[in-house]
């Protein structure tokens, strides 16, 4: 049964790094034309993200997003955009996996240490309802990549 936790959550939840991304989002603005466009939405809170990618030779050449939502979802989107810029699609998938593992499967946040600012989001883990906020851009990216790759696969596969 649930117990009162004497000490609370990460007092650093809103630490400067998150607020900084929230206030000064990187990669804001959609790309046009884009190779991938993906829309994500959290029906529980109304947060929305539109993600656009330009891809050349399996590399993410450009990232842009629009969105509205809380500090967690917007900071997560901004941080993600920073990280995948210039990476290969494979690396993007791998990053999605690592981020998910950290937030949903309880993996040590140090697995994201050194990957830009992402580790700062680890405090979100304690709040199931906010995990969805942090995950929003990542599931949106994943859905977009799936579509992109599906379209690019040789027929018959």
């Amino acid at each position: 049964m649930a117990q009162t936790e004497p000490v609370s959550l990460d007092d650093e939840l809103f630490r400067e790094i998150i607020l900084d991304h929230y206030r000064h989002p990187r990669h804001r603005g959609l790309l046009d034309p884009a190779d991938m466009a993906s829309h994500g939405h959290n029906p529980l809170c109304g947060d929305e993200v539109d993600l656009s990618l330009r891809v050349r030779g399996g590399q993410v050449e450009g990232v842009g997003f629009e969105g509205q939502g809380c500090s967690i979802s917007m900071a997560s989107t901004s941080m993600m955009s920073e990280e995948i810029q210039g990476k290969s699609l494979e690396q993007a998938h791998e990053l999605i996996g690592r981020f998910r593992a950290m937030l949903l499967e309880g993996q040590d946040p140090s697995s994201l240490a050194g990957i830009g600012d992402l580790e700062a989001l680890s405090g979100v883990r304690r709040y199931a309802s906010r995990v969805k906020c942090a995950m929003l851009p990542w599931t949106t990216l994943e859905a977009g990549l799936k579509q992109l790759e599906g379209g690019h696969e040789p027929a018959g596969d």
Binding site: T4, E5, P6, V7, S8, L9, D11, L13, F14, L19, R23, L44, C45, G46, D47, E48, Q68, G69, C70, S71, I72, Y127, S129, R130, C133
Partner: protein
């Protein structure tokens, strides 16, 4: 400001959960519109049932079966008493949502067609909106909405214009779960009945907070939830005009609601049993009975008075917070539900920061997406008050809002 009508400090002691500490702070529970807390007497009524009387109802020829049946039926009588209804019209359902679905499917879907119209309002909870969209899609009838004014009230002129042919059914909230507005249901019923329009009322936010007299209101259907009125989850009530209930086909079918079953055909039991298929939430009914008697012994007038006074106090305090926008009316037409936004801060972030100070509010669309759109926001934070809340709770809320502003200030 009027004096508080009950001693909330003493009432607090009746609710064991209020002694919880959350994130190192005293719990300030301001989310009763989502689900209220339960007094010890309700918690014990449920466990007492399982310890001393548990058995299936309306079936047993043994002592426990008799006890369970008596308890279950006395819960029905108690609920009927609270809202001045005929017990034959009191149907136990899971919650308000199921009650409204029952009316939608067993009444509206059966009777309406492409030539007819259903009317609800822009401030409805999804539970009093989506079921009517379903009926519209199933029957081809129209669906229209009474607009909400900038003051957060129903536009009564527009309502009057809508409450005539081809409208056959009006379904409207008694009290808005976002704005706290008390809608003039008596007047709407009068307008509707003049034109032979059946009225269904979503009473989820009314019955817990104010005296409700269904004899006087004269609505044809009225739904509410036990869990918002100090009762357990799993049990809610649909009150229907007995004559209508008798005319309607059943909603769910199966055990306990039948008279004669053959392989070819089935006849139904009498109301209200016709609408209670399968084993009901007997433990929940025991808890609801205790909740009704808890509220009655406190006095619904006192509950409303306390809510109004505390609401005034909170509205005044909130009005002084820079950058805070509140949605909904003030004064006598407001029932302790305070929705607001802080400029530049998403309500989710408001909620999370408040939680760090032990203050539980809700943030989101409150199951009212169309109303959010009408208010021009994606979401709001919402503090909702109940009989166990005190001025100290409101003061803590205000302090915590100060922290939100500090954290999110540039």
């Amino acid at each position: 400001m009027s004096a508080l009508a009950l001693d909330a400090e003493r009432v607090r002691l009746d609710f064991p959960i209020l002694a919880e500490r959350v994130n190192g702070h005293r719990l300030v529970y301001l989310d009763s519109a989502a689900s209220s807390q339960k007094p010890e007497v309700v918690i014990e009524a449920v466990s007492d049932y399982y310890r001393h009387a548990n058995a299936n109802v309306h079936r047993g020829v043994h002592a426990l079966g008799e006890r369970a049946t008596e308890l279950f039926e006395s819960a029905r009588t108690a609920v009927a008493g609270l809202v001045s209804a005929d017990p034959r019209g009191v149907v136990f359902v899971r919650n308000t949502t199921e009650g409204i679905n029952l009316v939608a499917q067993a009444f509206a879907r059966e009777r309406l067609g492409p030539a007819d119209r259903i009317v609800c309002s822009e401030m409805e909870h999804h539970s009093n909106l989506v079921p009517w969209q379903r009926v519209r899609d199933q029957t081809g009838c129209q669906l229209a909405y009474i607009p909400v004014t900038p003051a957060g009230e129903l536009d009564l002129e527009a309502a009057e214009a809508l409450l005539r042919p081809p409208t056959r059914l009006l379904s409207v909230a008694h009290v808005s779960n976002v704005l706290g507005t008390i809608n003039p249901v008596r007047e709407l019923v009068r307008m509707a009945h003049r034109e032979g329009i059946t009225v269904c009322v979503d009473g989820a936010q009314a019955v817990p907070h104010m005296p409700v007299d269904l004899g006087e209101l004269d609505a044809d259907f009225y739904a509410f939830s036990g869990h918002k009125m100090c009762g357990p989850t799993g049990i809610g009530v649909l009150v229907g005009r007995p004559q209508l209930l008798e005319e309607m086909p059943p909603f769910l079918t199966g055990g306990s609601m039948i008279s004669v079953v053959t392989l070819e055909r089935t006849t139904w039991d009498e109301i209200p049993h016709k609408f209670e298929a399968g084993t009901p939430d007997i433990g929940g009914a025991a808890g609801l009975r205790a909740a009704v008697s808890y509220l009655e012994s406190t006095g619904m007038e006192a509950v409303q008075g306390h809510g109004a006074a505390l609401s005034d106090y909170a509205i005044e305090a909130l009005s002084e917070v820079p950058g805070l926008t509140r949605y909904g009316p003030s004064g006598a037409n407001q029932l302790g539900i305070l929705s607001f936004n802080l400029s530049g801060v998403h309500p989710h972030d408001v909620g999370t920061v408040l939680d760090r100070y032990g203050v539980a509010v809700r943030a989101g669309h409150h199951c009212c997406q169309p109303l959010m759109r009408r208010l021009g926001v994606a979401a709001t934070a919402r503090a909702s008050l109940y009989l166990y809340n005190t001025r100290e709770d409101v003061d803590t809320l205000l302090e915590a809002i100060g922290e939100v502003r500090r954290i999110f200030s540039d």
